[in-house]
């Protein structure tokens, strides 16, 4: 399937959804003016991906800060990952936080409570 790449901007994270190379990541700040302009294509891509996912799906989040619409969009995305784990794909969410960013770590833990997929917390630059 096609790779989806959304380039980073001040209010939009860098998004790469590349099933062929097993790269799934969302990195940066997220507070787009129109949430569906960014996460609409992401969800469409995911809807397609879950029909025939890779054996393993390692999804990386490294967010600096985000708005409440993004919170909802991330949850939607995680629920899609949950729908394929573990039978269709072994999913692992990598939640990256800057060193001592307790607030972002807490956000990851909150998402982890709401979906049944394994989370791994890593420190990033």
């Amino acid at each position: 399937m096609n790779t989806l790449i959304i380039e980073r901007a001040n209010d939009v994270p860098n998004i790469i959804l590349d099933a062929e190379n097993g790269v799934f990541e969302i990195k940066g700040r997220s507070f787009p003016e129109e949430i569906m302009d960014i996460y609409g294509p992401v969800m469409d891509w995911m809807a397609n991906y879950v029909l025939k996912p890779n054996k393993e799906t390692r999804f990386v989040f490294e967010l600096e800060y985000f708005n409440s619409s993004t919170y909802k969009a991330i949850l939607n995305l995680l629920m899609k990952l949950e729908s394929i784990h573990p039978k269709q794909s072994k999913v692992q969410v990598i939640w990256g936080c800057r060193d001592r960013d307790g607030d972002m770590r807490e956000a990851g833990e909150e998402f982890a409570e709401m979906v049944d997929v394994p989370f791994e917390y890593v420190t990033v630059q």
Partner: protein, 185 residues
């Protein structure tokens, strides 16, 4: 030479300084301005010196407050994406205080009062549960904030959110909102 009865810039400068303001803006808001204000804020020395956690918390709440103005404030002209408003960010006594103001139609005041009064009376645990319930039972809309914007803000605060409405004219009121965040992790 300034006329004596003209706007006294020095008095205004002094009052802003006494309020320990890090950022203040009054004007027309849109997404471009939102981006600029966030960049400006995160590059201020008085913000950069705080912990990463405090910065994340502050910027996440600040963006939500400003986007509330953009999404829900009354525009100055029909079909305009410019929303008049004001945002103040102060730092004092180990706390950040964000204050915003925007016009709101009179007919929307009572609904907002009800919503915010309910949030003011909630514990952190209740806010978390309420946010979860709303999110799991709602669709992501094209604009707006999935219905959890104020909860998203209030959950980060170190004391109950504050608000008041000041009548401007027959149709509109000024919605004044304030949230205080701790600088500590």
């Amino acid at each position: 030479m300034l006329q004596k009865e003209s706007f006294e810039l020095y008095d205004w400068y002094k009052s802003l300084k006494e309020a320990h303001l890090v950022l203040s803006f009054k004007g027309d808001f849109n997404q471009e301005l939102t981006k600029a204000l966030l960049i400006l804020t995160q590059n201020r020395e008085r913000i950069k010196t705080e912990s990463i956690s405090a910065q994340t918390r502050l910027l996440g709440v600040l963006v939500e407050c400003i986007q509330n103005i953009c999404n829900h404030g009354v525009t100055s002209v029909d079909n305009s994406n410019l929303v008049p408003g004001i945002v103040l960010l102060g730092k004092a006594a180990e706390k950040f205080t964000i204050s915003t103001g925007n016009l709101i139609l009179k007919e929307n005041v009572s609904k907002l009062v009800e919503k915010l009064t309910k949030i003011q009376g909630m514990s952190l645990k209740e806010m978390k549960t309420e946010q979860r319930n709303i999110i799991l039972n709602s669709e992501l809309s094209e604009s707006g904030n999935a219905g959890i914007g104020f909860l998203h803000i209030a959950r980060k605060a170190c004391q109950p959110i504050k608000f008041e409405f000041k009548k401007i004219d027959k149709q509109t009121s000024l919605f004044c909102f304030e949230v205080t965040l701790s600088i500590h992790d």
